[in-house]
């Protein structure tokens, strides 16, 4: 019996050690991103070219009180009061937001896109309910954050953040109020000290503009977003980088600037992108009239095509006429030899897929329940930007350039997809089983390729030393769709070129926006 007890004890102790040794908690790649500590404060960013604002001072920000005024001294006391008793959670919050508001809001947006990127479950009669912006909490929740929706949300929010920070920098330079930790030695700087003027607070500008924009894009999340905005502002105050009046002025400025973008968003044709049964039928009949096999949904029950009129949304980087000009020529004829060969090629890949095919297909799939391909490129960009020590306003500018490219790439891509309404490989050869889900829209041109071509182009401009890497990534993303059985070679090759052409518009803008001069 003694032996048994000894053995049992050994077993239990060994198991306990194993359990303790195997801490399973996962720490996200950017969870411990360092605090922003920009090489260049970009003090002249108030002169950079804005996206929608006609002038950086379109919305007035009143002059702040003097740093010797009793009101300001009371604000310093507020900071000192917080700093005396900071909880671990508050310290964590300061650390979290110190990595940069543009980064953190971009991550929050990606989280929301992934959360809302689910297609509706069918009705009992085999039709599908459509999310309703006027009743966002009813199933299916509004929005369905599919790739076009996501591309547009990222672009609007990034562009609005950029314009808001340009205005913020304009007033920072104009009023030149010092940071609280500079004014009063009793205020501890919990973030790297800079000489960037503190009024209005860039953290609060970002909180205000983003919270306001989110009302349009994620109405179910207004409450959660408001809490995050408050967190960001309070963290700015507790860190010693901003006072209450810096924050109040910043938030008001951000919210006002957002209104210009919201007004644009309501009239950019996105609201009509779902189309009607008449539109869906017309796509089919027009294609048949051209002598081609039209696209059919491979979902069961058959689902209406995803946002067929998204190609008519107003782009950021060029006008609507340019969308048509950027649209490539037709895909190979559906009944022709080339299409037959390309279909066979795809079948060849999926017949005996290698582990490496699966790796790249799944790495780039960004399908249901993910932050979509635009979100993936944002993630790639954000992790590289962290290493570049950009100022907050430069972060915003670079994210805006990237996301406007991705949205406009999506517009041209969707315009092309529904202009040709081309069948997927699996429709032409049902033996083609795919290594990831088939998206519910036409094949030509590949969305992943178009997004990636555009992203690689603008990112290669922003971080030239990585240009070749971005191009290789774009190529892999594009290829992943072919070896995964989702796209033909033509879809991928042409998509990459069209994407790159869109990205060039962003590069041309970047060259003259004032940030690189």
């Amino acid at each position: 019996m003694k032996k048994i007890i000894t053995l049992l004890a050994i077993t239990i102790i060994t198991s306990a050690i194993i359990f303790i040794a195997c801490n399973k908690n996962i720490i996200g790649r950017t969870a411990n991103a360092p605090a922003l500590n920009p090489q260049n404060l970009d003090l002249n960013a108030g002169t950079w070219k804005t996206v929608l604002l006609s002038r950086p001072d379109t919305f007035a920000v009143a002059a702040p009180a003097a740093v010797t005024s009793p009101a300001y001294i009371a604000e310093l006391n507020e900071i000192k009061g917080y700093q005396k008793n900071l909880t671990d959670e508050q310290e964590q919050n300061i650390k979290y937001w110190s990595a940069g508001g543009v980064l953190r809001w971009n991550e929050i947006m990606r989280d929301l896109v992934a959360k809302y990127n689910l297609a509706a479950y069918q009705n009992p009669d085999g039709t599908y309910p459509i999310p309703n912006a006027n009743n966002p909490f009813a199933y299916p929740l509004f929005p369905f954050a599919n790739p076009p929706y996501a591309a547009r949300a990222y672009a609007y929010i990034s562009a609005a953040q950029y314009d808001a920070l340009v205005a913020c920098w304009y007033y920072k330079k104009l009023y030149n109020r010092s940071q609280p930790y500079v004014v009063d030695a009793g205020v501890v700087a919990k973030v790297p000290q800079t000489t960037l003027p503190s009024y209005p607070s860039e953290a609060a500008v970002l909180a205000g503009v983003t919270a306001e924009m989110m009302k349009l894009f994620f109405p179910d999340e207004i409450g959660n977003i408001q809490l995050k905005a408050q967190d960001q502002e309070l963290s700015a105050i507790m860190s010693g980088a901003a006072t209450r009046s810096d924050v109040v002025a910043g938030e008001a400025l951000g919210r006002q600037i957002a209104q210009q973008f919201i007004a644009r968003g309501k009239t950019d044709n996105a609201g009509k992108a779902v189309g009607t049964q008449t539109d869906w039928t017309a796509l089919e009949t027009t294609t048949i009239a051209r002598g081609e096999i039209p696209w059919y949904s491979l979902d069961l029950p058959k689902r209406p095509p995803m946002l067929p009129l998204f190609g008519k949304v107003t782009p950021f980087l060029f006008d609507t006429a340019t969308v048509t000009a950027l649209r490539p020529g037709p895909p190979p004829a559906t009944l022709g030899d080339q299409m037959k060969n390309e279909t066979n090629e795809v079948y060849g890949y999926v017949k005996k897929p290698t582990r490496e095919y699966f790796r790249i297909v799944h790495f780039w799939a960004d399908g249901v329940g993910t932050y979509t391909p635009p979100g993936h490129w944002d993630a790639i960009a954000a992790e590289d930007f962290i290493k570049k020590n950009f100022s907050e306003v430069r972060w915003a500018r670079n994210m805006a350039l990237l996301n406007m490219s991705l949205m406009d790439a999506c517009i041209v891509c969707w315009n092309t997809k529904y202009f040709y309404f081309n069948a997927r490989p699996t429709q032409l050869n049902p033996a083609i089983k795919t290594l990831t889900g088939i998206p519910n829209f036409p094949s030509y041109i590949s969305g992943h390729s178009t997004f990636s071509g555009a992203a690689a182009a603008i990112l290669g401009y922003i971080i030239p030393e990585r240009a070749n890497d971005y191009y290789a990534m774009a190529q892999e993303a594009s290829t992943s769709r072919m070896v995964g059985g989702i796209h033909y070679r033509s879809d991928c090759a042409v998509g990459l070129i069209v994407g790159k052409n869109v990205g060039n518009y962003a590069i041309n803008r970047a060259k003259v926006d004032g940030a690189d001069q």
Binding site: S15, L118, Y121, H362
Partner: protein, 313 residues
């Protein structure tokens, strides 16, 4: 008495209910049977599991984009008696999956090798029967870099596991009752993506796998040549999250299942080293798993190494 059953049975250690659910009659790691010293029982088992309905959280549905998802498995198994109180058990399955509808590609490959140490510390005869206690420790390790993040068609979850189990058995004449409880620790899994959504966005290619608790009860008839039993099993994933409506399943879902079924093992009277096993069960309740019907059949042969040595002399 039990140690004289020359044949024993092996096992499929798979908590992969979405992927594969093949609780089987041949489950030496689940039953109260030991191999004799220097005896090796080895064999092959074929299993088939299929489901059309599944649970997204608590919502039960079918999916015309999958049709019926089926898993076939061929497993090599063995059970070796170090002595009559200490056995080693192993299994290595080849798994193949497919869906009858939709466009998703089926998967196939060698899955996880599993091994158990089974120890019987207590065996006590009472007037009317025998009570025995078994303590088991087990592990499973993926044998290849198969794709885990492609549920419901993945062949496995690609987690390394460590399990501890206690079995209590009571036999009276030819009738018996066995109960067991198992705790399984599951290591984190690396996937091909760099981010994924659970209840929040995770920016990592690592997936935190919740541990699993299982219980198994069986009752039946056990004699030298025939074993027939009814089995009820339950598996509970100790944390994890629900599949959202119309989302895809994910590795770290809360996968729970209760199954009920029957097993038999028949030992040939003319060739008592050979036994045939079979079983069937059905998932009566579940969460984030398929409502699977599982069937299996196997053949096992006992080699007595003690005997061979004697022959040589």
């Amino acid at each position: 008495m039990r140690n004289f059953y020359k044949l024993s049975r092996a096992i499929i250690v798979s908590a992969l209910l979405f992927v594969i659910h093949l609780t089987s009659s041949a489950q030496t790691d689940q039953d109260a049977i030991m191999m004799s010293k220097n005896n090796l029982c080895s064999g092959l088992m074929y299993g088939h599991s299929s489901w059309t309905n599944y649970w997204e959280g608590t919502f039960k549905r079918d999916n015309p984009n999958l049709g019926t998802v089926s898993t076939s498995m061929l497993s090599v198994m063995g059970n070796y008696g170090i002595n009559r109180r200490l056995n080693i058990i192993f299994a290595l399955p080849y798994v193949q999956t497919k869906a009858t509808q939709g466009t998703l590609h089926g998967m196939k490959g060698i899955q996880d090798i599993s091994a158990w140490i089974k120890w019987m510390p207590i065996e006590k005869d009472f007037k009317k029967g025998t009570v025995s206690l078994y303590v088991l420790g087990g592990t499973s390790i993926p044998t290849s870099n198969y794709v885990a993040d492609f549920l419901p068609l993945s062949i496995g979850l690609h987690s390394k596991t460590l399990s501890g189990r206690i079995i209590l058995d009571y036999q009276r004449g030819a009738f018996f009752a066995t109960g067991s409880a198992t705790y399984t620790y599951r290591s984190n899994v690396t996937i091909d993506r760099t981010s994924y959504y659970t209840t929040t966005l995770i920016l990592s290619n690592q997936v935190q796998m919740p541990d699993v608790m299982g219980e198994n009860f069986r009752i039946g008839y056990r004699s030298n040549y025939l074993i027939a039993e009814a089995v009820v099993s339950n598996m509970t994933t100790l944390s994890g999250f629900d599949i959202r409506k119309n989302d895809m399943p994910f590795l770290s879902n809360k996968m729970n299942a209760t199954t009920a079924g029957i097993n038999f093992k028949y030992t040939l009277k003319k060739l008592s080293a050979l036994a045939i096993t079979g079983g069937a069960d059905y998932t009566v309740a579940g969460r984030n798993v398929g409502q699977s019907t599982n069937l299996n059949i196997g053949a096992f042969y006992v080699l007595d190494f003690t005997h061979k040595k004697k022959d040589k002399k």
